[in-house]
């Protein structure tokens, strides 16, 4: 009956029932918070996509000898990212990442300019992958090229 009396007389101090009420409030409140957290946390984790094991090996076959005429370029797959293989007018091969460092469009070799060009925002790189004009903030990652027999191997440079 103590709680009934305390409701009837709010002016009277009745610490035990007030305490009891406070206890129930905290219990219920933390119960709700815990339930909400139990719902929200899995949903938030669900929203973050699983990281895919990218890149695979550090070297791929980018093309075959004779496939590219001098002063031309082609896109090849490097893991699940595009790479750019260029054959210079001198016949020498070069390779670099084809993902523009500006806003990650895919770049291409421009035969008329003899430069690497990004169509999205007119960014330009030289054949070393260095950004030389337009918005790109960084050079393209350059790869090592090895010709072994008929195949052109492209290898990621080791971190030094």
């Amino acid at each position: 009956m103590a709680s009934g009396e305390s409701l009837g007389n709010p002016n009277q101090q009745q610490p035990p029932s007030v305490l009891r009420r406070r206890f129930v409030e905290v219990l219920l409140g933390s119960g709700f918070v815990a339930t909400a957290a139990a719902f929200v946390y899995p949903v938030l984790r669900y929203l973050v996509p699983p990281t895919t094991s990218d890149l695979g090996s550090d070297a791929v076959v980018a093309g075959r000898v004779g496939e590219l005429k001098p002063n031309s370029g082609k896109i090849f797959r490097f893991g699940n990212r595009p790479g750019l293989l260029i054959r210079e007018a001198s016949g020498e091969y070069r390779a670099m990442s084809a993902t523009c460092t500006h806003l990650s469009c895919t770049v291409q070799f421009r035969e008329d300019l003899r430069e690497v060009w990004c169509a999205c925002h007119n960014g330009k790189y030289n054949l070393d992958g260095r950004n030389i004009s337009g918005p790109p903030p960084r050079p393209l990652e350059a790869f090592d090229v090895q010709v072994r027999g008929e195949e052109i191997f492209v290898r990621r440079r080791r971190e030094t």
Binding site: L47, V48, P49, T51, T52, D54, I75, F76, R77, N80, R81, P82, A98, H102, L103, S104, C105, T106, V107, Q108, C118, A119, C120, H121, N122, N131, G134, P135, P136, P137
Partner: protein
């Protein structure tokens, strides 16, 4: 007619909606030489309804997924009877809706309809405009063509430029590090479920506010009418204004149908993640002013990346734009306030940059 009246009476006894619709009978619309601008919001709503209906129709055949999306849209356009028309209407109506939403916003600015007590109508309206642009951005990717692929790549990469939260947001939007089929699945979900749900709630709030607060009268006219009450002109909302609005919708439908039939929307070339970005690539016209601005900012401004600066500036501008009415007091001396100047500047800037972006190489 007596059957109809009986049915109405029967329903009235059960719903008791007479009280609910009573204000609608009393509602009036001010009549003056700028009254035509009042139609734009309604036309935008009409085009939204068209979007919902044609969107549902497209859902019957569309299949999300990197290997199926392009082919399914191709199927809609070449095999399904009138599929080309439905898709064309959906695309054209989307573009018209964005245009009328912008026009509606600027008309509200110039007629100063955002003033107290209509601040929240403005806030909900601007958020709706952002949602509509989100519809545009997410829907653009769904056919999975080259242009859409790179537009999405650039657009999400721009999100990634925002300091601290940018990268996680970009990964959330893309469903991974890169734009892939996972991105398409997510964008499909945003486009057909998340955004429509949010937009529907906000439209209800927006329209309810317009109903509660009545239609705004431009301050200049309000003063004239206060000084000379006999000059005041208004018409009943129902049926007088509603029928005129219906005519506006009918005209909008005509324009839409003609555009969709005469200029069917292109499908383009299927996206290839391992092809270089095609020359002359540009975003949709409503993102062009931002695209062109970002293009003009140098790679480095002082010590900040140009992109980061541009993105932060647009983000801040967007936020301030939402809160615009709160910067203007309701003091009569500030009637010819700076907000009109700002609106003119914004309109000129957006139009100028869009045209520049359109014609620039």
């Amino acid at each position: 007619m007596s059957v109809l009246r009986n049915v109405g009476h029967w329903l009235e006894e059960r719903f008791q909606w007479d009280d609910l619709v009573a204000p609608l009978r009393e509602k009036t619309v001010p009549v003056h030489r700028l009254s035509y601008w009042y139609f734009l919001g309604g036309i935008t709503l009409f085009l939204f309804v068209i979007q919902v209906l044609t969107g549902i129709l497209l859902l019957l055949y569309y299949r999300p997924g990197a290997n199926e999306a392009f082919e399914s849209v191709q199927y809609i356009m070449t095999q399904v009877q009138f599929g080309w028309l439905i898709r064309s209407i959906h695309s054209w109506s989307a573009n018209l809706m964005i245009f009328t939403a912008f026009a509606h916003m600027f008309s509200v600015l110039f007629l100063k309809a955002y003033r107290k007590p209509r601040e929240l109508t403005w806030v909900s309206g601007v958020i709706l405009l952002f949602l509509v642009m989100g519809f545009g951005f997410s829907g653009y990717l769904l056919p999975w063509n080259t242009l859409a692929f790179f537009a999405t790549k650039v657009g999400t990469e721009i999100t990634g430029q925002v300091p601290i939260v940018g990268k996680p947001m970009m990964i959330f939007l893309r469903g991974g590090e890169d734009v892939t089929g996972a991105t398409l699945t997510r964008f499909f979900g945003f486009h057909v479920a998340v955004l429509p749900g949010l937009a529907t709630v906000l439209i209800l709030v927006h329209v309810l506010l317009v109903q509660r607060l009545g239609i705004s009268i431009p301050p200049q006219l309000e003063m004239e009418w206060d000084a000379n009450p006999s000059a005041k002109r208004e018409m009943k909302f129902f049926p007088n204004f509603a029928l005129r609005e219906l005519m506006a919708w009918y005209i909008a439908l005509g324009v839409l149908g003609a555009l969709a039939a005469i200029f069917p929307w292109n499908l383009g070339v299927k996206a290839d993640p391992f092809a270089p970005a095609p020359a002359g690539i540009k975003p949709e016209w409503y993102f062009l002013f931002m695209f062109q601005t970002l293009k003009l900012i140098p790679a480095k401004v002082w010590f900040i990346d140009g992109e980061v600066l541009g993105v932060l500036a647009f983000g801040l501008a967007g936020l301030l734009w939402v809160l615009l009415p709160f910067f203007e007091g309701d003091h009569p001396s500030r009637m010819k306030s700076w907000i009109t100047g700002l609106a003119i500047f914004a309109l000129t800037y957006m139009t100028g940059m869009s045209l520049y972006g359109h014609f620039a190489k």
